[in-house]
């Protein structure tokens, strides 16, 4: 309650407004006082407003730090990353991809920043990206550090195991500012994986050889996500007991382990010729039964969002009998593929 100028003054002081030494009351001073009172009102309102705004700024400021405005210019250092970014719906934000990034089709039209193993630092920096994403298996960590030193934000996604791939997709989604899209995509992939698992559940495990090179024979080894895919598809990688992700395999090993399915995932191989290549090793079941398949490599070899599709195709190659017709399925969706 206002009692007089002195009180007002004191009250004024609360709002840190300059105090005046009021002279004895006069008509001018009355008017002046009235103006001061009005001003105080406004000041009060203003200060409250300012207080509220600063509160807002402080709190929102933290949110900004935890989740930077979602990156608008992204450079991808690997085809699997490019596919992931597109699959999450952020393809339009890519400003640079590798020369091997060819899926989806739009990726081919994007500007290139170099190869898979040797991207060009200059070109990347020139693109002024907000975010650069690479993979642990191919991106040179020295280059990554160099990019960070130049002020770029670099993230390396691990793609060593299937789990890593799925986690990586979620990480990319988070980095792009929409973790929920990542969850959704991973959920879809996991659903695909579960579906395949169920469909091949009843089938016996088949020894499988997955080769990426024929001369010399380079195959998928143990610590490789493709090995996990093979296992999920109901197969058993004959070279799975090795610690290396890729290995040069002597042919006698192939004969000894008697794979029932051979998949050649090299580039440009022709379906027709593959049978001939193993033709003289007739004791190998895959050769005797004509189950040597050529497979276009990208889907199977890229640790990206298409792993679910890759798994499905692998399962169809390894256990075709589990996918023949719905009549084969039990009511709960499992298939009756006990025959080998």
């Amino acid at each position: 309650m206002l009692r007089g100028p002195q009180h007002e003054r004191r009250t004024n002081n609360k709002f840190k407004l300059p105090t005046f030494v009021l002279r004895p009351r006069s008509k001018d001073s009355d008017r002046f006082l009235a103006v001061c009172q009005a001003m105080n009102h406004w000041k009060r309102i203003l200060s409250v407003y300012f207080f509220a705004v600063s509160l807002l700024i402080v709190s929102r400021g933290n949110i900004f730090a935890a989740e930077a405005p979602s990156p608008q210019r992204v450079v991808s250092l690997a085809p699997s990353v490019t596919e992931t970014v597109f699959a999450l719906g952020f393809g339009s934000r890519l400003v640079g991809v590798t020369t091997y990034c060819d899926y989806p089709a739009e990726a081919r039209r994007l500007p290139k920043i170099g190869g898979f193993m040797n991207p060009s630092l200059e070109v990347i920096v020139a693109k002024k990206p907000d975010l650069v994403i690479g993979v642990n298996t191919a991106t040179d960590p020295a280059k990554a550090r160099e990019m960070e030193r130049l002020g770029l934000k670099v993230a390396l996604i691990s793609v060593t195991s299937l789990n890593d791939i799925l986690t990586g997709i979620k990480s990319i989604a988070r980095l792009m500012g929409s973790p929920q899209r990542g969850e959704k995509l991973v959920g879809a992939i996991e659903a695909d994986i579960q579906y395949i698992k169920k469909r091949v559940a009843g089938a016996p495990r088949r020894p499988v050889l997955l080769a990426v090179g024929i001369r010399p024979l380079v195959v998928v080894g143990g610590s490789n996500f493709i090995d996990q895919l093979i296992t999920l598809a109901g197969g058993e990688n004959i070279a799975g007991n090795s610690a290396q992700p890729w290995l040069n395999l002597p042919e006698e090993y192939v004969v000894a382990k008697a794979p029932q399915v051979i998949i050649e995932a090299g580039m440009g191989s022709e379906r027709q010729q593959s049978g001939n290549r193993w033709g003289d090793l007739k004791s190998v079941p895959a050769v005797a039964n004509g189950r040597v398949y050529s497979y276009q490599s990208d889907k199977i070899l890229r640790p990206g969002p298409r792993v679910g599709e890759a798994l499905a195709e692998l399962a169809r190659l390894i256990h075709p009998e589990c996918f023949t017709s719905p009549a084969n399925s039990k009511p709960n969706g499992e298939s009756r593929c006990e025959s080998s």
Binding site: A239, V255, A256, L301
Partner: protein, 344 residues
């Protein structure tokens, strides 16, 4: 007076030949996978796993290893004489570089093309050895032209052209390696490091014929090789047509090296080390040194390949790593014991 005589020739070569046969047998029976020999022999012509392991995957490798080990060692011996340089080895000629490049190009552009030759018993032959051999021939002609002066192939020029040519080829190969995709690059690397992996008896037979014929021809030049190590002028005065001999030996060894690298990639160290080892054991007379090196090279590579298959099973190590890893220390040991025999 201790000189080379009939008895020494027969003794040394006889022992080495025996060791070679034993090595071939041993290598066929050893591997990362256990082999039931009886069943393999019983089922030689039917689709049995044991038979196929022995006859289709191991035996061709063993035979190829013997031929290539012997060929590399023989060429190394001959080149050390021709270039009058104890550090000479088959790689130095530049021909192996050309063959490597040809092979790489074949691997990149048509790795899966096969020659239209019947499969079955003889196995498949890919285009890669052919492109590699074309590369070898082209580089041979090139280096020949570079090094020919007044009808003579001067060792100095040969060495220099070979080294420079190899460096250039290495750069080109690195470049190609950097622009192919990741999986192709892996394959290229494995091919470059050398591998005796083969199932085609036709290839093995071809290489055998080639190398044995080449080696026998080189063996007839044994005396001239002795003389040429004394120096070009001394050799001329002792009756050697040095200009012609240099040309012939260059062509013969280039062809042999080209063929070997085309099929198995570059397997180093054998051509450098085996001649020196045998020189410490049997002396420098090439009439004995050549066959001894040939046989010893075959034995060495045979076992090196066996180790390459066994050491890190199921993976196969590049055989060139084994030759360097085990060959090096053995050579040093021999040097330590017999070092004074080597010229300062």
């Amino acid at each position: 007076m201790k000189v080379l005589n009939r008895r020494k020739m027969i003794q040394v070569n006889g022992v080495l030949f025996l060791l070679l046969i034993l090595s071939a047998l041993g290598s066929s029976l050893l591997g990362p996978v256990p082999l039931d020999l009886v069943r393999a022999l019983e089922n030689m012509f039917s689709p049995d796993a044991n038979a196929e392991i022995l006859f289709r995957t191991r035996l061709p490798r063993v035979l190829l290893g013997i031929a290539i080990g012997g060929g590399m060692a023989a060429c190394g011996t001959v080149l050390q004489a021709l270039l009058r340089n104890p550090l000479a080895c088959p790689q130095m000629l530049g021909v192996s570089g050309g063959a490597s490049l040809g092979g790489i190009l074949g691997l990149i552009f048509f790795p899966y093309w096969l020659l239209p030759i019947a499969g079955g018993l003889f196995g498949e032959i890919s285009w890669v050895p052919l492109t590699a051999f074309v590369g070898a021939l082209l580089s041979m002609v090139l280096i020949y032209r570079f090094s020919l002066f007044h009808g003579r192939l001067h060792p100095y020029h040969l060495l220099l052209s070979g080294v420079i040519f190899n460096s250039f080829i290495a750069a080109v190969i690195m470049f190609l390696n950097s622009i192919v995709d990741f999986y192709q690059a892996q394959g290229l690397l494995f091919w470059l490091m050398g591998s005796l992996s083969t199932r085609a008896y036709l290839t093995v037979g071809f290489i055998w014929a080639y190398i044995v014929f080449g080696f026998l021809w080189l063996w007839t030049k044994g005396l001239s090789l002795n003389l040429i190590t004394l120096g070009e002028e001394a050799a001329m005065q002792l009756g050697v047509e040095t200009a012609a001999l240099q040309r012939q030996i260059f062509v013969a060894s280039s062809l042999m090296i080209g063929a070997m690298v085309s099929v198995s990639g570059m397997i180093g160290f054998v051509g450098l080390m085996i001649p020196h080892v045998m020189r410490l054991i049997v002396g420098s007379d090439h009439r004995l040194l050549l066959p001894a090196s040939f046989l010893a090279g075959g034995i060495f590579l045979c076992w090196a390949d066996t180790l390459a298959r066994i050491l890190l099973a199921p993976a196969e190590l590049p055989v060139g790593i084994i030759t360097a890893f085990f060959g090096g220390p053995f050579f040093l040991f021999l040097l330590y014991r017999e070092g004074k025999k080597l010229a300062v």
